[in-house]
């Protein structure tokens, strides 16, 4: 019986926790590398429509986002807006007329382009995150402006729906 307990029966020796910081640091670095901080706060509500034939977006750093939807409740009361759909670029929301008149999208795409390498500029994608209840009028305007800005790769952001079949 006591053959294996020669060490003096005072329970287990304490586990060394010296490597615990290393383990935690490893996890920390993993999350630091994978984290994408949200740069913009949404000022419009976007519920994307559902689709089945979706593709995953690659290279997040090369994607610029355009949000289309009606302004959030707090924005409506703060800025005295109606529920009419607006376009958000970075942190600013624009009315449909402003987009066309001031070519805001072209400015936006230009500034996005300037932040990237020249090599990567032709791989840039614009993701249109539009609410499912907006009408095509405003979406078409945005698309026309994108064509003018020569940003031709687009992606309609959708939720992945379960295949009906």
């Amino acid at each position: 019986m006591s053959k294996f307990k020669k060490g003096g029966g005072k329970g287990m020796p304490a586990i060394s926790t010296a490597s615990l910081p290393d383990i935690v640091f490893m996890l920390l670095f993993f999350f630091m590398v994978t984290t994408v901080m949200r740069e913009t706060t949404l000022k419009v509500t976007v519920t994307p429509p559902e689709a089945t034939e979706v593709k995953k977006m690659e290279k997040k750093s090369l994607v610029s986002y355009i949000y289309i939807g009606s302004p959030t409740k707090s924005q409506q009361s703060q800025m005295n807006l109606s529920t009419k759909a607006l376009v958000q670029l970075n942190d600013v929301i624009y009315k449909r007329e402003e987009i066309i008149a001031n070519s805001e999208i072209q400015k936006f795409i230009d500034s996005e382009r300037r932040q990237k390498d020249e090599k990567q500029q032709n791989q840039m994608t614009t993701s249109i995150k539009a609410d499912q209840n907006v009408t095509m009028g405003i979406v078409t305007d945005v698309k026309t402006e994108l064509r003018k800005a020569n940003a031709l790769k687009i992606n309609y952001s959708t939720k992945k729906a379960k295949d009906a079949n």
Partner: protein, 187 residues
């Protein structure tokens, strides 16, 4: 004994784990793991001046019209002279209609010549809802994806997205996705 008195005393690293945990929890909370997904499309470049638009024979155009009440009209021909296929305004048969249109290969005189000549023209109005538009885009994508899958299964015995780049390109060349979108019509 003498060596212990020399040099700096060791810093206690016991709280290192706590600090690291704190940072770890911060990043855990701020991380968003969601992957963005969506339907990819390529917009046509702005038309240059004095460039003639190539004419397409009307049998090679599949027109999908979505009106402001989100009703769908599909047919083959030019928008003014359309042979209606689906007039009831529903989306259910759209995918199969597109597939039969693309794979006609000159069979029926009122349908496409060959898959690489077939063009799908999508037109919508100001008041069309984005939801319906995406549903239609989804159906069109599905039609092409299924055709590509079928062909890759016949040619290579596996699904399209399991092929290597070169094989995928061959199939894509056989079934090029030609979806043209005209300007939104005012109503």
């Amino acid at each position: 004994m003498a060596s212990k008195r020399r040099g700096l005393p060791e810093i206690n690293a016991g709280s290192m784990a706590d600090i690291a945990f704190l940072l770890l929890i911060f990043f855990l909370v701020t991380t968003t793991m969601d992957v963005d997904s969506g339907i990819s499309r390529k917009l046509p470049p702005m038309p240059e001046e004095n460039v003639e638009i190539p004419e397409i024979h009307k049998r090679n155009i599949f027109v999908v019209l979505i009106n402001k009440n989100n009703k769908i009209l599909a047919g083959i021909g030019s928008p003014t002279n359309i042979i209606e296929i689906n007039g009831d305004g529903s989306i259910s048969s759209l995918k199969d209609d597109v597939k039969t249109f693309i794979t006609n290969n000159g069979g029926s005189p009122n349908s496409s010549d060959s898959p690489d000549k077939a063009v799908v023209s999508l037109q919508n109005q100001e008041g069309t809802s984005y939801k319906t538009y995406i549903q239609v885009q989804n159906e069109l994508t599905k039609a092409y994806n299924e055709l590509r899958d079928e062909k890759s299964n016949v040619d290579y015995g596996k699904d399209f997205n399991r092929l290597d780049n070169e094989e995928q390109k061959k199939i894509k060349d056989f079934y090029p996705m030609k979806v043209s979108e005209a300007e939104t019509k005012a109503n």
